[in-house]
């Protein structure tokens, strides 16, 4: 049997009190796609950072193609033929594809000869792996899927035989993700070894040959993908049985709580982002807005939540007009019973530098409950935060911990606890489970259904079509700022997919 492309022997890594990797043994065979799956914080990224030379292992050995190696920094990793495609692209936005690919390996102080050589090499790579990209296109003008292709080209250009992809589909549409998987198959056929890090079970099943499951810093199992099931992997990941399907009863819609009429929103450059959108949300129902990211969903919910101003249109909350064209104040809307879990939890829903208890009152810091005159009643705030931590099982259960040190799922729970515990009449929720691990997804979905069953109106936006389909009672599809269709919850994925791609819309226009 051939030497494995990567062999990790007893890798161990601690950060202070946190044991990020415990005695990890892993074999990745040559010419295979190996999936590494685990919840956020399971140690996947740390392990790959050690492989790529960002961190040094405290103990253990790395063998590449059978030979023990020391990887002191990313340059050493590149020298060993390891390429990394990061979750957040490392591209210079206003450079061309060619300039990005040759960045750091220009070859000479003057660019002219390097560019000619790079162009020829890039062309060869594109042909060999069928990765078509215009070398002179500016990165910022490329769609995300193509930007990722540039990242892959960058790694190949540097002679990578082993390609590590960290959560590669987080930013892609389903179609783009499928395309990526075809590229990975292609690379595998050419003899490259691929390590795919993800927390999405479906991707593992779709594309990998072998899969290793990580939990709490350890590799708990390695399976041949063909011999395992989604249920088994989920259970291994979380350490207990997980309900992957959302269980919910019939919706009992009541009176209209939120009504949006002919809403039009432009962004700061004057581009129309929401185009004449109208819909209602009733008490006791979940209305989901499906769509590929960037089709105006974000602007729509931010406008309804009072964060953005609209050009025209009306929004009524409980029959009362919200001043959306002028200075709608999110604070005032909160008082009127509209809660908002924003899509961008890192910059909007939370202040990551704050301690947990400080975030537990963000937006509600005017409440006399938390104040002593002009002073914060820190004891009261902490007591309140502790209650929420317990009820929402937020871990670690320390209100003094910096919010940035919580995992994605727990950060989302902090936001949810804050918004739901105010018992709002209307809940707007954007990307409820983005970057959230499987165990927490189950919990969050349950809470959303509970809100509905308690007679609240829920407006849900997500780019995960599965999530929209399993939670919503009615589905609206947005494309290019317009609401192009409304479907029942049992609409097929194909039907919604066509709407999301704007197909039916074009037919109607003809």
């Amino acid at each position: 049997m051939a030497e494995p492309a990567i062999e990790l022997v007893g890798i161990d890594k601690r950060f202070g009190a946190v044991h990020a990797n415990r005695d990890i043994h892993l074999r990745v065979e040559k010419g295979t796609i190996h999936g590494i799956i685990g919840e956020n914080g399971a140690g996947k990224s740390t392990l790959m950072s050690i492989l790529y030379g960002f961190y040094q292992a405290d103990n253990g050995e790395i063998r590449i193609n059978g030979a023990p190696v020391r990887i002191s920094d990313p340059n050493a990793a590149i020298g060993l033929g390891i390429g990394m495609v990061h979750q957040h692209f490392m591209l210079v936005e206003n450079f061309t594809v060619l300039e990005n690919v040759m960045l750091g390996v220009e070859g000479a102080p003057l660019l002219k000869r390097g560019i000619a050589k790079a162009r020829a090499e890039l062309k060869r790579l594109e042909q060999e792996y069928q990765l078509d990209v215009d070398p002179d296109a500016l990165i910022e003008e490329l769609p995300v899927g193509l930007q990722q292709r540039v990242e892959i080209l960058k790694a190949l250009y540097r002679g990578a035989d082993i390609l590590v992809l960290d959560e590669p589909t987080g930013v892609l549409t389903p179609a783009e993700a499928d395309h990526l998987f075809r590229i990975l198959e292609q690379l595998k056929a050419q003899g490259k070894t691929i390590v795919l890090i993800t927390h999405k079970l479906r991707e593992i099943m779709a594309v990998t040959d072998n899969v290793s499951v990580m939990r709490q810093g350890s590799v708990v199992a390695t399976r041949k993908t063909a011999e395992t099931t989604v249920e088994e992997l989920a259970e291994l990941m979380v350490g207990r049985r997980v309900l992957l399907r959302v269980q919910k009863g019939e919706a009992k819609p009541g009176e209209v709580k939120l009504s949006v009429e002919n809403l039009t929103v432009r962004d700061s450059r004057g581009v129309v982002m929401v185009d004449n959108a109208s819909f209602t949300v009733r008490a006791g129902e979940i209305v989901g807005i499906a769509g590929v990211a960037g089709n105006g969903q974000s602007q729509l919910i931010e406008t309804v939540a009072g964060i953005r101003t609209a050009v025209s249109g009306r929004v009524l909350l409980d029959g009362q007009v919200i001043d959306i064209t002028g200075a709608a104040d999110p604070g005032e809307l909160r008082d009127r019973g509209l809660a908002h879990v924003p899509e961008d939890r890192h910059h909007m829903g939370l202040v990551l530098a704050f301690e947990e208890y400080e975030n537990s009152i963000l937006g509600y810091h005017d409440d006399p409950l938390y104040l002593n005159g002009p002073f914060l009643d820190i004891d009261a705030i902490k007591a309140d935060a502790r209650k929420k931590i317990e009820k929402y099982d937020i871990r670690p259960s320390d209100p003094r911990l910096k919010t940035a040190n919580f995992s994605g799922g727990n950060q989302q729970k902090i936001v949810l606890a804050r918004e739901i515990e105010r018992d709002p009449g209307v809940l707007i929720i954007g990307q409820p489970t983005r970057g959230v691990d499987v165990g927490a997804i189950e919990f969050i979905h349950k809470r959303i259904i509970e809100m509905r069953d308690a007679g609240k109106a829920v407006l849900l936006v997500s780019v995960e079509l599965d999530e929209i389909r399993s939670l919503s009672d009615r589905i609206l599809v947005m494309f290019a700022g317009r609401i192009v269709g409304e479907r029942d919850a049992d609409a097929s994925e194909g039907e919604l997919g066509l709407l999301m791609a704007g197909v039916e819309n074009q037919e109607a226009a003809e």
Partner: protein, 381 residues
């Protein structure tokens, strides 16, 4: 990919790192001293002795520190809101007008303990109003506060020259300064405080505004970490998007924060004017507004850190003056170079040694952990 826990423990972040920066700054300064043919050791001894070796030395050190506490707090408050107020110099200078009005107008009539609070209010108000214009331009028009506050420093300097030469100058003199304030416009010294710890202060101008500076530092701490307003300021500073989401009015917070910042700078004028010279002189701020930036950086925008950093810079000012006096090869300009080096390493390059320190500490932690089980095993036998 997240960088889990790539973070120094608090004691290293707030204690060790600034100390290392300081040592490197003094080391490089020592090289400069050697270059001009003086002994760095002697210079260091002179500096420490000059700053802390006598009642007057301590008095001068704390007198300078008073200025730097005010301007450091001024910069720090704005920092917490994500604003870089470089206008402390101008706000302090123009704040002198507020002191002048009280000192000249009431100094002959009222006792100091009545004029002092009035002068605090007047200087703070004038400083706040001077900061209001850049704040308003930033909040409403997006004009960057760094640019506008720098410009306002020049405007303040010109206005003060114009007023001092044209209107405030005492009649019959050539010097562009006001007449000396009456007794009620003069703040009591703090000689008694130093005598409590056995020091004898004769001529140093340390005065009661030093205590005011300490009170201001405490109040800034309360404001930033214990009030709703401070919560809103910090939210805005960390994430304007989160502030918008939380319904915190951007215009309101920027304007209020800058006015508080300007008021703190304005109060600095009390120390040299009412506390030391008892009159308004040309350029009495003497760069303290800019030193405040370094003080705030070094003190990590925390009032306790600012007080310590201000005392350090007070030592540099006072001890530096002693060196210049005793070592003929070292001119006043050399002292400025040394101060510049401290600012360079402690302020501008404050994070230079962070990655190295982090690596060293991690390695240290690792070896300690590896050795611990061995010790435990021995203990078990």
């Amino acid at each position: 990919m997240s960088q889990p826990f790539a973070k120094l423990p608090a004691w290293a972040d707030y204690g060790l790192l600034p100390l290392i920066n300081l040592i490197v700054a003094f080391f490089v300064a020592g090289l400069v001293v050697m270059l001009v043919g003086e002994s760095p050791i002697d210079a260091a001894v002179l500096m420490v002795k000059g700053a802390f070796g006598s009642g007057d030395g301590v008095g001068y050190t704390l007198y300078y520190a008073t200025n730097f506490i005010f301007t450091g707090l001024c910069v720090a408050v704005a920092f917490h809101c994500g604003l870089f107020n470089i206008g402390g110099e101008g706000q302090a200078y123009i704040g002198g007008l507020g002191v002048a009005v009280v000192g000249l107008g009431l100094g002959n009539v009222l006792p100091w303990w009545i004029t002092f609070p009035l002068a605090i209010i007047a200087s703070g108000l004038v400083g706040a109003l001077w900061a209001l214009i850049p704040a308003w331009l930033q909040a409403k028009r997006g004009s960057h506060v760094v640019i506008t506050t720098i410009m306002f420093n020049f405007i303040a300097a010109s206005i003060m020259v114009y007023l001092l030469v044209g209107y405030l100058k005492a009649s019959g003199t050539q010097a562009p300064e006001t007449r000396v304030f009456g007794d009620g416009g003069q703040l009591p010294g703090l000689g008694w405080l130093l005598s409590l710890i056995g020091l004898n202060m004769r001529s140093a101008p340390l005065n009661i505004s030093f205590l005011l500076a300490l009170v201001a530092a405490f109040l800034v701490w309360v404001l930033i970490w214990r009030t709703k307003l401070g919560y809103e300021i910090r939210t805005m500073g960390y994430s304007p998007k989160a502030a918008r989401y939380a319904g915190i009015g951007e215009v309101r917070i920027i304007v209020i924060t800058m006015m508080i910042s300007g008021a703190l700078a304005g109060m600095m004028a009390l120390n040299p004017i009412m506390g030391a010279q008892h009159r308004v002189q040309l350029d009495f701020v003497a760069g303290a507004g800019f030193v405040g930036i370094a003080v705030a950086l070094m003190g990590r925008s925390h009032p306790a850190g600012i007080v310590l950093a201000a005392i350090l810079f007070g030592m540099l000012y006072q001890g530096g003056a002693e060196i210049a006096f005793d070592m003929p090869n070292i001119s006043r300009d050399m002292i400025v170079i040394i101060q510049g080096l401290v600012i360079l390493f402690a302020g501008a390059l404050e994070h230079m040694f962070r990655p190295t320190l982090l690596r060293v500490l991690q390695r240290f932690a690792r070896t300690k952990r590896q050795s611990t089980p061995a010790v435990a095993a021995e203990g078990g036998q």
